[in-house]
């Protein structure tokens, strides 16, 4: 690890549905390991990536390990900004109510639970991506 106290803006850009390919699961593995590096971390969900956050996932019939609960635990890893693109939801007939209620505890406000999911439009998403130091695309 670096001795320099540089803090960079890391964005994990999730573009694919879970289970059909391994990208979503292995992206999460990077996020969890990366949390130890104490960078300024955001996650973004665009295109089929929004399916990763669907409520009531059950992977049992696929024979694969379900990992949707991990998203709910991200707050414990100081990962508190999950940007979801509204247009991607719209195109798939989804709303933010179809997604898991993911929260984090705000230590500055007596550990009140606050929503981690931030709904943004396409233009705002583009700005967010442009504003990063490091974009890991999955």
């Amino acid at each position: 690890m670096s001795d320099e106290q540089t803090k960079k803006k890391f964005l994990y850009l999730n573009r694919k549905a879970p289970y059909g390919t391994i990208y979503a699961l292995e992206s999460l593995e990077v996020v969890l390991i990366g949390a130890a590096f104490e960078q300024d971390v955001s996650l973004a969900f665009i295109d089929d990536g929004v399916f990763q956050l669907m409520e009531n996932q059950d992977a049992a019939a696929t024979g694969m390990k379900g990992f949707s609960k991990t998203y709910r635990a991200l707050g414990d890893f100081e990962v508190r900004k999950l940007y979801v693109e509204k247009e991607s939801l719209d195109l798939r007939g989804l709303t933010v109510d179809d997604l898991m209620p993911i929260v984090y505890e705000d230590e500055d406000e007596d550990y009140a639970e606050k929503p981690s999911i931030i709904l943004v439009g396409k233009t705002e998403m583009a700005k967010l991506i442009a504003d990063q130091d490091v974009v890991l695309s999955f």
Binding site: S2, E4, I33, Q39, V134, L136, F138
Partner: protein, 130 residues
């Protein structure tokens, strides 16, 4: 400029590794530094020395190995992704009780922290994949 390279796809099925190789070579030729090349997802399959492509085709593993030797590149294969896909070095083979290893010369197996560190240390992290 100091680049870090991430390769998310294996050889041949996808162009990602070819493009990453050409980019890396071109960047080095222009005098840039390559901090690290990190192989993730199926990208770890670039690091097996057991591939035997037809003789009239490029051998991507060999190209990476040669580039690494010529420029002292740090080619890192993610251990978690490698374990899923059967890419082992001698230590891992022994630890997992497997009867052989297949890591190619010039590659090494290490953890995901190496990818994050590359993102921190490099001016640009360039991801090659689909």
């Amino acid at each position: 400029m100091r680049f870090a390279i991430q390769i998310n796809e294996g050889p041949y099925t996808h162009q990602a590794s070819d493009t990453a190789y050409q980019f890396t070579k071109a960047a080095l030729a222009k005098g840039h530094e390559i901090f690290r090349v990190f192989f993730y997802h199926d990208g770890v399959n670039n690091g097996t020395r057991f591939t035997v492509p037809p003789q009239d085709d490029r051998n991507l593993q060999k190209l990476w190995t040669e580039l690494a030797e010529a420029h002292k590149l740090d080619l890192v294969v993610c251990i978690a992704a490698a374990q899923r896909r059967g890419i082992l070095d001698a230590n891992e083979a022994k630890r997992q009780g497997k009867d052989g290893d297949n890591i190619a010369p010039g590659f090494r197996i290490s953890g995901l922290g190496q990818l994050i560190e590359a993102g921190i240390q490099a001016d640009r992290l360039v991801v090659f994949g689909d």
